[in-house]
Symmetry: C2
Subunit: 323 residues, 2 copies
């Protein structure tokens, strides 16, 4: 049988694990394209850093620190310590020595005029992730977080809010700086239009998947595609499996629940994006117009993650026959 | 007695050692200004690297690898190995992890519009070298080496010739790219004009001291200064003490000898720069119009290096009374 082309929208750690499960169940003829959030990207010490792209690339390329879920295995922190000795701020970002080489190559290529999608492809020649890794956009879109402080209302870069403040400052709003001028990266619209199955990874619905869907043209491409769209809930038992979606959903008025997440994405036939919504066993979710199914969603190990990916593909086939 | 202001023109390893000896014999009222060759500077992986400035800064700041004579003590090479894993050329340059933080801070400050002299001062706030460290110029001047290859005549960046080819390709000519538009860095002309003693460190007469003297206005400033100018021979017994001056002097038609070096600099009264020339014990040198003295010049240890610096200051005083 001919291969199936699966396109996945994904963020960092959760998205990377899900993609490794999907790759495990894919056949040799199948093709996986991952469209990755770049709203968390930032420039530090003159280096362009793409946390979600790198997490996915390192995870699928067997270079990830599996304990932390981000950054390189066997990482060292010499440069970071030296920068601190120069009082070079900021010190709160986890800039590892191994990781730094990736940023050097990326920054140099971007400075030379290559698009981020081309840079990502070049980096992937080393990592061989086994999926086509695409940034959501080749333009810069940065998620800023509006917070109240004793000094007044402030907008922080997402990473500063997430890493430095551990998402402890209540978010009032998330702003996608630069999004109005952004377009889907080279290859993204073509992948979505040609997909057999479209999946929303169990990533943060606000600052990962939400950021991707905010790129002009991307939501419409999803809705126009003939392929079924299935999302996987990152909320299990009323709390995020990992990350801090519970710090993000309240800011946009969405309950931190599998049902809340599903309703936030909404049924395709009612202006949303979903045909199917996969929730964790025991989580009820009533999402009007969307086929909801419950399976284990914990990604506890490779087998569980692969089973979850397989369940998403099955649900997609069920959704296809709905149409 | 009021302090003496000594201005030293210097290259990397030899210059750095000499400066540490000079600092050791200087009194608390004395001031040392080092004007450092930047013709070896290069940009690699998007990082601006100043080998001679860094060697002097690390040496005087107690951060140098004393075995190698360059780079940081306790250096690691993680980023270099990672860059190689990406096939990111060139791999021949010794880019250490600790060193790299210096280049990141420098590059970022240069990109922000600061002059190299201001960047150097900022880096020195950490290293506290105890001398005023100035680049020879705030403009880019790059030494290129013209060589014959089987494919024809080529010009290589000095570092490529020196590090990659270990100066084994015979040099036909040294070219200072950009020198016509260069000016002495902020503070250099003022330091020379106000100096009590001017010294040429026992650095390479061609690609270190020669490059500094090639900056428009610098040679004239030396000649116009009321201070005596004393040079120290880097050639001992017909061979360079360190480095590869014997690969450089032939290209400009100068014999590799203490006398050859002294005559190359020439007597101030005859259009050259020297009042005095310090050679190694046992090396004869007849340099017309220049007071020549022989003392041990091997910099074998801190005491020998300090004695050599003291001898240079004594010779300068002798030259002053000549006038």
């Amino acid at each position: 049988m001919p291969g199936v082309h699966v396109v996945v929208l994904a963020g960092g750690v959760g998205g990377a694990r899900f993609l490794s499960g999907l790759r495990a169940v894919a056949g040799p003829q199948d093709q996986i394209t991952a469209v990755i959030n770049t709203g968390d990207d930032l420039t530090l010490h003159g280096l362009r850093i793409c946390p979600d792209l790198d997490t996915v690339m390192y995870t699928l390329g067997e270079g990830i620190d599996t304990e932390r879920g981000w950054g390189r295995a066997g990482e060292t922190w010499t440069v970071k310590a030296e920068l601190a000795a120069y009082d070079a701020e900021p010190g709160w970002f986890g800039l590892g020595d191994r990781d730094l080489a990736t940023h050097l190559v990326r920054t140099r290529m971007l400075d030379a005029g290559f698009a981020l999608s081309a840079v990502t492809a070049a980096l992937c020649r080393r990592w061989q992730p086994g999926v086509d890794l695409l940034p959501m956009s080749d333009q810069r879109v940065e998620t800023h977080v509006v917070v109240d402080t004793p000094e007044g209302t402030r907008a922080l870069h997402f990473q500063e809010w997430w890493v430095r403040h551990r998402a402890e400052l209540p978010a009032r709003e998330f702003v996608q700086v630069g999004v109005a001028d952004a377009r889907p990266a080279a290859g993204v619209l073509e992948a979505i239009a040609g997909a057999d199955v479209l999946l929303l990874a169990p990533s943060n619905p606000v600052v990962s998947i939400g950021t991707i869907l905010g790129v002009p043209g991307l939501r419409a491409a999803l809705r126009d595609s003939p392929a079924p769209v299935v999302g996987l809930s990152p909320i299990v038992g009323g709390a995020p499996v990992r990350g801090m979606a519970d710090k993000c959903l309240p800011a946009i008025g969405v309950p931190t629940s599998a049902e809340g997440g599903g309703r936030h994405y909404g049924a395709r036939r009612e202006g949303g994006v979903l045909n199917g919504w996969l929730v964790h066993t025991g989580d009820g979710a009533d999402v009007p117009g969307v086929r909801v199914q419950a399976v284990p969603l914990l990604m506890a190990d490779a087998a569980a993650t692969a089973a979850m990916a397989a369940a998403a593909l099955v649900l997609a086939e069920d959704c296809r026959s709905d149409a």
